[in-house]
């Protein structure tokens, strides 16, 4: 669907503080273990930052696909830490962090909204606003802003 036609069914919360941290689970297979910094931190691949599949979104009851995240202000309200973003993943997954402010710099534009779900009241969504799903342009931009705060375990 072209950007001229797409209207996201999600409602962007443009009043979210830009300093709010956004956490994303990191698949160990999507970091480049052959490209590490001086501290041994691998480079993240852009595919860490993408929507869930359309089928998964439908199964979850969403009107459209989006990227699942955890929001720091909601975690704080529940006295929980960013590791809760890994609840549905294995213990070998990592955690990436960026901010709502980072999201606002991405083009094409991305939206952010709180999306509390059962067992995860800190859950949120980041999603493409001008097309049905993020593509490499948006994923690559998020990758450039994000940092690994918990390393995944090397396969």
């Amino acid at each position: 669907m072209t950007s001229a036609q797409w209207v996201s069914p999600f409602e962007d919360q443009n009043d979210l503080d830009l300093d709010i941290k956004v956490y994303r689970a990191v698949n160990p297979g999507l970091v480049d273990w052959s490209d590490t910094d001086a501290a041994g931190t691998p480079k993240m691949g852009s595919q860490i930052f993408q929507h869930m599949s359309d089928d998964r979104a439908t199964a979850a009851g969403y009107p459209s696909s989006a990227m699942s995240i955890a929001l720091s202000h909601l975690l704080d309200e529940h006295r929980e830490g960013p590791e809760r973003v890994l609840d549905e993943f294995g213990g070998n997954w990592g955690i990436a962090m960026f901010t709502v402010g980072d999201v606002r710099t991405v083009r094409p534009a991305l939206g952010v909204c709180e999306n509390p779900i059962d067992g995860a009241p800190w859950h949120g969504l980041v999603y493409a606003m001008t097309r049905s799903r993020m593509r490499r342009a948006e994923s690559g931009a998020l990758r450039s802003h994000a940092m690994l705060i918990r390393l995944p375990k090397r396969p």
Binding site: G29, L30, D32, D35, G45, Q47, M52, S53, R136, A141
Partner: protein, 166 residues
């Protein structure tokens, strides 16, 4: 700089999955049939990266990606298709022959293989799918983005590739 611009074409039929072949800017190649035999991928990870060309490493990663099952990402991904894996191997060989720098390679959510070069000014993403390629060029300095069929932005695609020559 003498980099061969690799062009790919969308399949005209959903029932076939042609492998794109490298071509010069002036003479794009026609479709060719899908290879029926799988590449001879490395069977083990070579521990010492100094003894391993990036091609071997990338071929190993393609093989590993091909072996992933559905939902490997826990978010509904589908397994990599045979056609995409073969096309990705062909692309890797072509890139290595042109001394393009090492890409990071991984499975994509929609059953393809993704190649990406990030961190520099020009970022390049090539998603190899059974139906063809999806290319994105991103100028991280200006925020400029070109995406889709690389024939529609050959200059930027060529520039990005040239910037990656080792």
């Amino acid at each position: 700089m003498g980099v061969t611009v690799i062009t790919a074409h969308r399949a005209s039929s959903a029932r076939t999955a042609p492998c794109p072949t490298p071509a010069t800017v002036d003479s794009p190649a026609a479709f060719e049939p899908v290879l029926v035999s799988m590449p001879q991928w490395p069977t083990h990870r070579i521990a010492d990266s100094s003894q391993r060309t990036w091609l071997e490493e990338v071929q190993y990663r393609i093989k590993e990606a091909f072996l992933l099952s559905d939902d490997w990402d826990h978010e509904g991904a589908v397994a990599v298709s045979r056609e995409a894996a073969i096309a990705a191997d062909n692309l890797a060989q072509s890139l290595a022959a042109q001394h393009i720098g090492r890409p990071f390679v991984s499975a994509t959510q929609d059953g393809g293989i993704g190649f990406e070069w990030t961190g520099g000014r020009w970022e390049l993403f090539i998603d190899v799918l059974a139906s063809g390629w999806d290319v994105t060029v991103r100028d991280s300095a200006t925020g400029g983005v070109w995406e889709g069929d690389p024939e529609t932005f050959e200059a930027e695609f060529s520039h990005a590739l040239s910037s990656l020559v080792a």
